[in-house]
């Protein structure tokens, strides 16, 4: 596959993510198959030999994440991908990667859970992605694309963010984004102003040896390390929050949704306009760091906020923390592979408006 800049390709979200990784300089990919993200592996198997990279279909998810650890420690741009149950298996390794401050990219094309669940789209791994998943006080940067183009663009950013902060970055997509085909252009480039990986294990001839570890057995050392980690996380929270804000200025109700849900809610915004309803939307692009400030600011002036997710209600907890009681926060969600339809969401909005009118009638 030869890539010309500005050439349009019709690709699935999976293929676009994989190709973007190659374009962003990823040369090490380790994976274990699972639907609905197998096209990432297939594309990597095809492309890695072409660019002189390494593709290994490993024996288990644990092997995949620890091979990522190895290649990342040696300074390579490294990626793995899976879907929900497979990502659960990788959690120990992700904690080790965060604890060793190793940059890498992990893609989770979420499917229905819990357990083996099904292969339908879902957003029920939000807690796992943004609240840790593995053990210890750590964060992964979490990016949530909502189109095939954005899936490609965010992979470029993910590798740059990972290298910049020496931290694992997770891309949180879902089965629908992975399987859907859309036109995509690979126009981004790898950042060139990143500092050299002087910490990497490249052989210590002529220099002091580097040590990559997450083990601090001497009393006190681990706390010092954790304080350093937290300082880094605060810096990421200050610098890297990303979101899209649509029609919030005069909105009565603002929807908060990410990824596939956000896309469906854009349809709702269009339909609501036809009914002369004033509905806006905030779409978090980074789920960690979370756009709390933006949500807090909007909460000051709207009647209520509606969070829409393909889960039983996970991100809504972060929305409530951000809103901090300034306005009511409602929730609409579908679980177990159910995808909310624009009609259902609009119905929920109309319910909220009617309840508000009833309350107004009683009080007046």
């Amino acid at each position: 596959m030869s890539i010309n800049k500005n050439q349009k390709f019709l690709l699935t979200g999976n293929e676009a993510s994989a190709e973007a990784a190659i374009q962003a300089g990823c040369r090490f990919y380790y994976g274990y198959p699972i639907t609905p993200q197998n096209e990432i592996m297939t594309h990597m198997a095809l492309r890695m030999p072409e660019v002189g990279g390494t593709f290994i279909q490993v024996e288990s998810e644990l092997a995949a994440i620890y091979m990522v650890y190895g290649s990342a420690a040696a300074g390579g741009r490294t990626m793995t991908s899976s879907s929900s149950p497979g990502i659960s298996l990788k959690q120990e390794g992700i904690s080790y990667l965060a604890g060793s401050e190793l940059p890498c990219v992990i893609i989770n094309m979420q499917r229905g859970g819990p357990g083996l669940g099904d292969i339908s789209p879902a957003q029920s791994d939000y807690f796992q992605a943004v609240k840790g998943g593995g053990h210890g006080d750590y964060h992964t940067i979490v990016l949530a694309p909502s189109s095939v183009q954005e899936a490609a663009d965010l992979v470029f950013d993910a590798f740059d963010l990972a290298d910049c902060y020496r931290n694992p970055v997770m891309i949180l997509g879902d089965a629908q984004l992975g399987q859907m085909m859309e036109p995509v252009v690979f126009c981004k480039k790898q950042k060139t102003d990143l500092s050299a990986k002087t910490w990497a294990l490249t052989g210590a001839r002529g220099r002091k040896r580097n040590i990559i570890k997450s083990f601090y057995p001497v009393k006190g050392e681990l706390e010092v390390f954790n304080i350093k980690l937290q300082k880094k996380y605060h810096e990421i929270e200050a610098e890297e929050v990303r979101y899209e804000e649509i029609d919030t200025r005069n909105a009565d109700i603002v929807i908060v949704a990410y990824g596939t849900s956000a896309r469906i809610c854009r349809e709702v915004l269009k339909d609501a306009k036809k009914q002369s309803l004033k509905i806006g939307m905030i779409r978090p692009i980074t789920l960690w760091p979370f756009p709390s400030h933006c949500i807090a600011r909007v909460a000051e002036r709207v009647q209520s906020i509606l969070t829409v997710e393909m889960s039983a209600g996970q991100m809504v907890e972060d929305v409530r923390l951000a809103v901090n009681g300034k306005c009511p926060v409602h929730f609409y969600g579908r679980t177990g592979g159910g995808i909310p339809s624009p009609k259902e969401i609009l119905h929920k909005i109309n319910e909220l408006i009617q309840v508000k009118e009833k309350v107004t009638c009683v009080t007046s």
Binding site: L10, T35, Q176, Q179, M180, P183, R263, R266, E267
Partner: protein, 182 residues
């Protein structure tokens, strides 16, 4: 202009390829497009279905709730998707495999014996291309030369000899509609 099409048929009847080729052709013509295939447990002999949305505007939800067009290759597909029809939708049926249906009112129905036509051309697998020709003769969604160039790119190497029969099948589909009009 927005066109929402559901394509469905037996696994192996070529709906995946047809949908992808239409999507590729409209993309090359500068329109927005989403193509959402069914995936996972669909196998040869099962029902495989695809949601295709084409628009000049930005497309938000790639999942179709009400279709402008259904292209249905066999009866189980039609039974599965008839609920997606709305007033004035177009329904393209492969009449070789769907004979009698309780047709809803206010629907434009086109019955194309696609399997028979393709069989007469000597390649039953080209029934999807017959349906494309018929669909496009009515809806004028894509330019046929662009579509054929996309098809030619797919049919390379060992598959190259099949281009001719597929092209012929597209033309027969177009003719079928034009002749039935006249």
């Amino acid at each position: 202009m927005t066109e929402k099409v559901i394509l469905a048929g037996l696994g192996g009847q070529g709906m995946m390829l047809l949908g992808r080729l239409i999507a590729q052709a409209v993309m090359l013509e500068g329109k927005n497009v989403t193509f959402f295939p069914s995936y996972g447990t669909e196998v040869r002999g099962g029902t495989a279905y695809y949601h295709l949305i084409v628009s000049q505007e930005e497309i938000f939800s790639p999942v179709i709730e009400e279709a402008d067009t259904l292209i249905m290759m066999n009866l189980p597909s039609y039974l599965k998707f008839k609920g997606f029809l709305k007033p004035n939708s177009s329904l393209f049926l492969n009449s070789s495999m769907i004979d009698k249906i309780d047709a809803p009112e206010n629907i434009d129905i086109f019955r194309i014996p696609a399997t028979e036509i393709a069989n007469d051309l000597g390649n039953v697998v080209a029934s999807n291309m017959v349906m494309l020709g018929a669909y496009n003769a009515v809806k004028k969604l894509i330019s046929i030369p662009t579509f054929l160039s996309c098809l030619q790119k797919v049919l390379q190497g060992k598959k190259a000899p099949f281009f001719k029969v597929n092209k012929l099948a597209v033309e027969r589909g177009i003719d079928f509609i034009n002749l039935s009009k006249g």
